[in-house]
């Protein structure tokens, strides 16, 4: 139901907002619902506000899950693990 896309933070602005990079342009984004946003962070943005922040660990785990759990017959499969850390 809700179109939201990851964008990277350029810098912080007043009133609980920040600037994000969209293509060659810059957009404002409300970050009142997210804790401790820093430049360089990735935010998932829906209709002008950040719904969540993507942490590096979560992103890595997410991809590992997709690679490992989905592809390998056995979640603990060693080969699969090696593959996901490529």
């Amino acid at each position: 139901m809700c179109l939201a896309i990851p964008y990277q933070v350029i810098d912080l602005q007043e009133n609980d907002s920040c600037r994000i990079r969209v293509g060659s342009g810059v957009q404002n984004c409300f970050i009142g619902l997210i804790d401790s946003v820093k430049p360089g962070d990735w935010l998932v943005v829906h209709a002008g506000f950040a719904v969540e922040k993507i942490s590096p660990e979560d992103a890595r785990e997410n991809l590992e899950l997709i690679n490992r759990y989905i592809f390998a017959k056995d979640p603990a499969d060693k080969d699969a693990k090696a593959e996901s850390s490529e």
Partner: protein, 387 residues
């Protein structure tokens, strides 16, 4: 964060491998497997990337009640139209809602049980404007202090948290909202109890779950339904489908988060706290479906002053003539939204009802099932190309 690249979730190689994995898993089933998503964006992205075309014949993905435009009660649409037509009001709305017919009959223009939409109100002189966010609507109120700016606050939990955050921080005095926000989980809980509901898996919404978390869906596997919360890029959607299939193959229907980079198990607590401060849960009418307890958001306490129902009580006490049927005669949107029928079961699909002349709401929204089927050609048959 150097090592995060959003593009990986659109990677054709990963998609190809997932496609193969899904095909392998699907071979384990003799019966067709039905997976329901409850998020219109899933419908739209599946259409745009042609993802159903990558699935084996025995895996069907159908759309559940995940389109806020399709389930929005006619009362709110009619209210928006009525307010748009009063000269003091600038009516702002997400683009999606503009063409949705409510229940005020539109006489004489076209054949059939045709109803007015906000676009019709605009054509009759109403000041109706599409906005990208609630913040833009509030800015418009600031810039037009002599007008009353009404924001048609449609959408699910994802969209409503921004409204809560805005009102909590203070909105202009001439800014009001139509409280048409819905909460998905109670509707989801209703589905497995429906007669004729024979779905094997759920693809849980991605960004709505980013707000609420997925704990609230924990009991769904008790019905034997395998659940995966999924993102929206091709890799995400297919990963969600693969997860559901795998749970079914192993006969262990559970609740898996395949969109962990965005969804936390308990959701976004800060957003939930602000939501709780500004809105209360209330019973809401899902268009053509039912009144579902706790399935909507209503302004509470001191925030009620932003409600159009308070500010425009007098105007709204005198509503225009409305049709008694929620959906236009013959429209099967309600059943389609519940996964109990398909667009091609509707006799007027692609005949009386097309995107340029929508008869029912499911043909309006970009994520309405009828529209998605129409524009992306997702009938029962695959597209065959002969060169």
């Amino acid at each position: 964060m150097k090592n995060f690249s959003p593009d990986i979730y659109k990677d054709p190689t990963l998609v190809a491998r997932l496609k193969q994995r899904i095909a392998e898993l699907a071979q384990e089933f003799k019966e067709p497997v039905k997976i329901m998503h409850i998020c219109g964006t899933h419908e739209h992205e599946m259409g745009r990337y042609g993802l159903r075309d990558l699935l084996p014949d025995n895996v069907e993905v159908l759309a559940g009640p995940g389109c806020p435009v399709c389930v929005c009660d006619t009362e709110y649409i009619d209210q928006a139209i009525q307010l748009a037509l009063s000269p003091e009001v600038i009516l702002t709305s997400f683009g999606d809602m503009l063409a949705v017919p409510g229940s005020i009959p539109l006489k004489g223009e076209r054949k059939g049980d045709v109803r007015m939409s906000l676009l019709d109100a605009k054509a009759r002189g109403g000041d109706v404007r599409a906005v990208y966010s609630v913040f833009d609507a509030a800015k418009l109120a600031q810039a037009n202090p002599k007008k009353q700016v009404v924001f048609f606050s449609a959408g699910f939990e994802t969209t409503v948290v921004a409204v809560a955050a805005l009102l909590k921080r203070g909105a202009p005095d001439n800014f009001f909202i139509i409280e048409a926000n819905y909460f998905t989980p109670p509707a989801t809980h209703l589905l497995p109890e429906l007669e004729g509901f024979d779905v094997n898996g759920f693809l849980l919404p991605g960004h709505a779950s980013a707000i609420t978390g997925i704990r609230i869906y924990e009991h769904l596997p008790d019905y034997g339904i395998a659940c995966a919360s999924a993102g929206f890029d091709p890799v995400d959607v297919l990963a969600g489908i693969a997860s559901v299939l795998r749970q079914l193959v192993e006969n262990k229907p559970g609740l898996e988060n395949t969109y962990g980079r965005v969804i936390q198990y308990d959701g976004n607590r800060k957003a939930l706290a602000e939501l709780d401060e500004v809105f209360a849960r209330s019973s809401k009418r899902w268009r053509g479906i039912a009144d579902i307890p706790e399935s909507g958001f209503q302004l509470k306490g001191k925030y009620r002053r932003y409600s159009t129902e308070e500010r425009f009580a007098e105007v709204l006490a005198d509503p225009p003539e409305r049709s008694v049927n929620e959906h236009p005669k013959g429209c099967r949107c309600a059943e389609i939204t519940l996964g109990l029928a398909r667009p091609d079961d509707c006799p007027v699909f692609d005949k009386l009802c097309t995107p340029d002349n929508p008869y029912g709401p499911c043909m309006v929204s970009h994520e309405g099932t009828c529209r998605a089927w129409y524009i992306y050609g997702m009938g029962k048959e695959r597209i065959h190309v002969e060169v």
